[in-house]
Amino acid sequence: MPAPIRLRELIRTIRTARTQAEEREMIQKECAAIRSSFREEDNTYRCRNVAKLLYMHMLGYPAHFGQLECLKLIASQKFTDKRIGYLGAMLLLDERQDVHLLMTNCIKNDLNHSTQYVQGLALCTLGCMGSSEMCRDLAGEVEKLLKTSNSYLRKKAALCAVHVIRKVPELMEMFLPATKNLLSEKNHGVLHTSVVLLTEMCERSPDMLSHFRKNEKLVPQLVRILKNLIMSGYSPEHDVSGISDPFLQVRILRLLRILGRGDDDSSEAMNDILAQVATNTETSKNVGNAILYETVLTIMDIKSESGLRVLAINILGRFLLNNDKNIRYVALTSLLKTVQTDHNAVQRHRSTIVDCLKDLDVSIKRRAMELSFALVNGNNIRGMMKELLYFLDSCDPEFKADCASGVFLAAEKYAPSKRWHIDTIMRVLTTAGSYVRDDSVPNLIQLITNSVEMHAYTVQRLYKAILDDISQQPLVQVASWCIGEYGDLLVSGQCEEEEPIQVTEDEVLDVLEGLLVSNLSTPVTRGYSLTAIMKLSTRFSSVNRIKKVVSIYGSSIDVELQQRAVEYNALFKKYDHMRPALLERMPIMEKTATNGPTEIVQTNGETESSVLDTKHPATVPQPANQANDLLDLLGGNDVVPVIQTALPTKPASAGGELLDLLGDLSLTGGPTPAPAPSVPISQPPFLLDGLSSQPLFNDVAAGIPPMTAYNKNGLKIEFTFERSNPNPNIAVITIHASNSTEADMTDFVFQAAVPKTFQLQLLSPSSNIVPALNQGTVTQVIRVLNPQKQQLRMRIKLTYTYKGSPVQDLAEVNNFPPQSWQ
């Protein structure tokens, strides 16, 4: 068979191919020729064939049939063969092929070969792709070579040792003795790789690290080498742009960093040399900057003295002003790392960083944005936010999502005023509305609800915003929710903060209906608008128009809309008397975390008010005390029947039956079956009047009988129970403490403890004075989480002052009715 073509020929031929198909054809032909040549076991040309195979592999064609041939080449005696064989092994073989283990013996022999280049090849291959088995077998050979005087082999052995350590960490100790005099080498190659080896060992094992610090006195050695490098003047061998061996300098600095981290003595020892490097290095070329950069990182990481740190940050500041983009990028990256620890120092460069936001380079912009967010604090929030919002307007879409979330977080933490906060969020929604995260809509709604004095202003601005643009869904959702809630304020033109606009009810309804029919609205948005329209039925006078809209959507194709419309229709027809109460203004919401079983903020944002009072809720935002909020809402009586659970809310579409909705509502606010206090109670709302409330109510609450937990010295404590609907593992217990003696019990504190498998949450009591002669009760809500459904047991501790003297008592409560915990 004719001699296979040379690699050069092959390459030339492939280059003449004009299409991918032609190229593939040529390659396949050649592959076939190579395969038959391999089959013939042709020793002379094997080398050539494998070379061609490697070329084809680089172009992306499969070459696995050459793997065994590589092994044969490695086993050959000729250097040429070995060279190609090892190259092929590195490119084609890896741990996953079983074939690679066959190499072990060859490599072992070659590691002991007489020619250093063969040894070098073997070390190189082992260091690139040696598997853990191979490394284990050959570690001894590598270690031997680490001690040789041949610098060419020594440096390769050092890097090979690094690879071995990475694959088989247990072998690290083996290389320890060999490292003893690695650093006394003159050859820079060996020095360089030795530093790499030492770095790897120190990073992997804290024991090694302390060993090197103390026993080997590594730091002084490194400092000495570094000093020689800087002071040695011009050395043509290792010079790169006028600096002698910058690569070695950088490596040494990195190792110093690891050694000095967290260790005072080592940091002390390297202070001088770091200062020297920092001040003497020339910064006109990239090389000098690379060294300075590494020095700065080291200074920031070790326990350096403050003067040095200031020097480092100033160097970074200088970098920021450099024209070279790479330097600016690197400076921003390192400032990001140091902003946590040296916040004030970095603040000084804030204006430069903010300027970088306007840079054309994408990588720099991203770094500057991250750094800017890290630098925002209470003092600079206004200025920074202006810049960041401007950036948000003009940046690429890939940044918008991150920037928007960053803005929200910063605004939440540092907002100087509510109006500013709302303005900022509105600005984000109008500019980057489609990129904000999903949970920003409910968060914003909550924020708006809680800033009561801004309602009119907010709804006006939102209304104006959606007149302009209805394509950004989060904005539209928030706007329709607000219009639904505060539409009356909008129409009445009550805005204090800005020029009120004149809007008629019909215009508002036009806008909302427009949202319903627009193609740009998602189904979720449509749901929002429909509910908003419905809510306006109690706030506007044009009820008929609303009724019409609602009944039209009763036959909508979208199931969600249809369900809502049908229910609202029912609300108009059968339950019209309930409508005002159901569609009342929302009360001030707490964040979800503090509410146990109930979720006030649902992700689709729809909540039904269950405040069962005709009056508007308290308009002043309350501190986080849940029970107090609820009590105020009921009209501020001191002792009122407690609302058993926090406001339960249900999305209007869940559980279609209206009766179920009201069934849950009956849990709130109704009178408890406990002995009624003799003070006037705000009566249960007319909501329940429409139904046969008693049986319904009793069904639910009377399911679990109340019990007397404690009755001593005139103090009686009764427990009443509900099961919280969303989460059956939570039992809600209300204690009623009454006092039958003739003197008040003041400073009354009730404490409870439960076994480990339970979790307890105690809400605030209604008061801490138990009036005498059963004139009133102190109530308090306890929530018990019982995931393992074990028998409920409780130990209670009561402290109060009676007739001037403190009384304290402990009791065990074991007689819980089974339904409370099953």
Binding site: R48, L54, G60, K78, T193, V196, H238, D245, D361
Partner: protein, 162 residues
Amino acid sequence: MIKAILIFNNHGKPRLSKFYEHYSEDTEQQIIRETFHLVSKRDENVCNFLEGGLLIGGSDNKLIYRHYATLYFVFCVDSSESELGILDLIQVFVETLDKCFENVCELDLIFHVDKVHNILAEMVMGGMVLETNMNEIITQIDAQNKMEKSETFIFQSPRQDR
């Protein structure tokens, strides 16, 4: 650690690809394509650092590249390497190639891929920088080439010049 070294031309054709971590063949080709895509979009006067694509994975990895005439030299590294240092390393590599091939151009890389691999093997081993002194590298390469030539002479086999 250096994860990969890639050289490709302005049209994305790979001229050298060396991976120091294992990937399957398909993934390797995909990485080359993706890297080319990211790097070719870059303007001339922006910085030489890029966050890596999805394939070569992880927020830890960066692409550091330099554009010389018709070729892109891309090093994919993780955070343990100094970015500016790698830039210098690329420069040293190219200068070494220049010395070895005498005014190196893309054609030299095309027809002598294995030689380029050998030079690279003297500089970077197992993903770590081995030798940065240009003269040292060239000395070693020359010695090894001499060995090869002497073998072909001794064994009288057809010249294996590739």
